[in-house]
């Protein structure tokens, strides 16, 4: 049994040698102070935030542009998510009586009915995802990945999972939603310090999976399985 509060010190020679571990060199205080002053002045001027930009110059503070983008995107996506939930509710209420045995009548009905709330929500989700990923690509090109609203990606990811769990995810749509889920999950993992290697992985994933093109061309209408309507 060991005593967790045994305060027996290490051998003094070891402690002395340990003092050479990352031994701090002389520091140029004047240069550091100038940087601090400059960054604080810039923050006051509103050009960029004082805190966060010093560690590699990539991180932005929460007081900058991000909340505006996030709030707007979050409002849109919350609306879509609400619509989606209503759609799923309607879908689940109507599904059980018809899923068991699809009939010719049911197929014909599917082809004729207008888009359901579920389809609308799915279509809106795809267009929202396309817009977001376009913004992502533009940010990558501009080297400003850290300015992306990650909260919006999280919202999209949540919506995406709802869609995957719903019956709107047909054989056509499901693979796209799965690819989209992977990309969105990777973007949310970027956090506030988007690393170049991660960004490159996401971009490669988008390219190899042809996600953008599929987002534009994959039909949502008619993708509902027979009996949902």
């Amino acid at each position: 049994m060991t005593d967790e509060h045994d305060e027996t010190p290490l051998d003094p020679r070891i402690v002395e040698l340990a003092k050479g571990y990352n031994a701090p060199p002389a520091v140029d205080r004047e240069a550091m102070w100038q940087v601090i002053e400059a960054r604080r002045r810039s923050a006051v001027d509103g050009r960029y935030p004082a805190t966060g930009s010093g560690l590699g110059g990539r991180r932005k503070s929460r007081g900058s542009r991000r909340p505006v983008l996030s709030t707007r995107a979050a409002a849109w996506i919350s609306g879509i998510a609400a619509l989606l939930i209503v759609g799923i509710g309607i879908g689940r209420l109507t599904a059980p009586s018809r899923v068991a045995l699809p009939t010719r009548e049911a197929v014909a009905t599917t082809a004729k009915v207008p888009a359901t709330a579920l389809e609308v929500a799915a279509a809106q989700h795809l267009s929202q995802a396309e817009a977001y990923l376009t913004l992502f690509r533009a940010s990558v090109r501009a080297g400003q990945v850290d300015s992306l609203p990650v909260a919006a990606a999280r919202q999209l990811l949540a919506t995406n999972r709802l869609l995957l769990d719903s019956q709107v995810a047909s054989a056509q749509l499901r693979p796209l939603l799965l690819d989209l889920e992977l990309v969105l999950a990777e973007i949310t993992q970027l956090g506030t310090t988007g690393r170049q290697a991660d960004v490159q992985l996401i971009t490669d994933g988008l390219d190899h999976g042809d996600v953008m093109t599929r987002l534009r061309v994959t039909p949502v209408r008619g993708s509902l399985p027979i009996g949902v309507l």
Binding site: H5, R29, R39
Partner: protein, 217 residues
């Protein structure tokens, strides 16, 4: 500290105004870093006195730099961390309630900043390091001399879990108390003691090749 115990700095934007940052030799002034001095300093900074901000920086920059350099071990990263620490400190000074000493409070910000920098760097290293580098282990040799001991010791400190390493460096190397370390790391002082115990035990175990001088007290 500053040799001679006194120094003056002129604000380059106003060369006629001598800004006395601090005067150690002045008997009536409290020592920098003392509670009274810190309270005065904070009061002046809150009142918008730029010289007081500079004074705070000059008083604590070396101490903060020592802490962050011990953790990050890179001059450029350490300077970034010091700058970040003081910028955050000036931004948050309004929230400082004086429950801890100003230096300890600054230390807690520095630890947080240094940890973030360190974790970011480790993520990068992990991503880019070839597999074979991950398997490099310092092999104990039959006969080990002092320089080898130093190299091994530093390698073993590197290998310590983050919490152990921080407490070990702050306590055994930098000489902070467990109470101060607890405040800086946001843990109880008992946790700091336990971490230190484990760090020492780990070092003793890993440096057992150097017995008997290392394993004993």
């Amino acid at each position: 500290m500053h040799p001679g115990g006194q120094w003056l700095r002129r604000d380059p934007r106003n060369p006629f105004e001598a800004v006395c940052v601090y005067v150690l030799s002045h008997g009536s002034n409290p020592a920098p870093g003392s509670q009274v001095d810190d309270q005065q300093l904070i009061g002046r900074i809150r009142a918008g006195d730029p010289a007081a901000e500079r004074q705070l920086f000059e008083t604590y920059a070396d101490r903060i730099h020592r802490i962050v350099f011990r953790f990050v071990g890179d001059p450029e990263a350490a300077q970034d961390c010091v700058q970040e620490t003081f910028i955050r400190a000036f931004d948050r000074l309004g929230t400082f309630r004086g429950e801890a000493a100003l230096g300890t409070w600054l230390g807690s910000i520095a630890v947080s900043v240094a940890l973030n920098a360190l974790r970011g760097r480790r993520r990068d290293e992990k991503r880019h390091a070839p597999w074979e580098e991950a398997e490099v282990v310092a092999a104990p040799s039959a006969r080990i001399s002092e320089p080898d001991l130093k190299t091994r010791l530093h390698a073993e400190i590197d290998q310590l879990p983050e919490g152990y390493r921080m407490v070990f460096l702050l306590h055994d190397v930098e000489g902070y108390t467990h109470e101060e370390i607890g405040t800086m790391l946001g843990v109880q002082s008992g946790t700091s003691k336990a971490q230190l115990f484990r760090a020492r035990a780990r070092l003793r175990e890993r440096l057992a090749d150097f017995a008997p001088e290392v394993s004993g007290a």
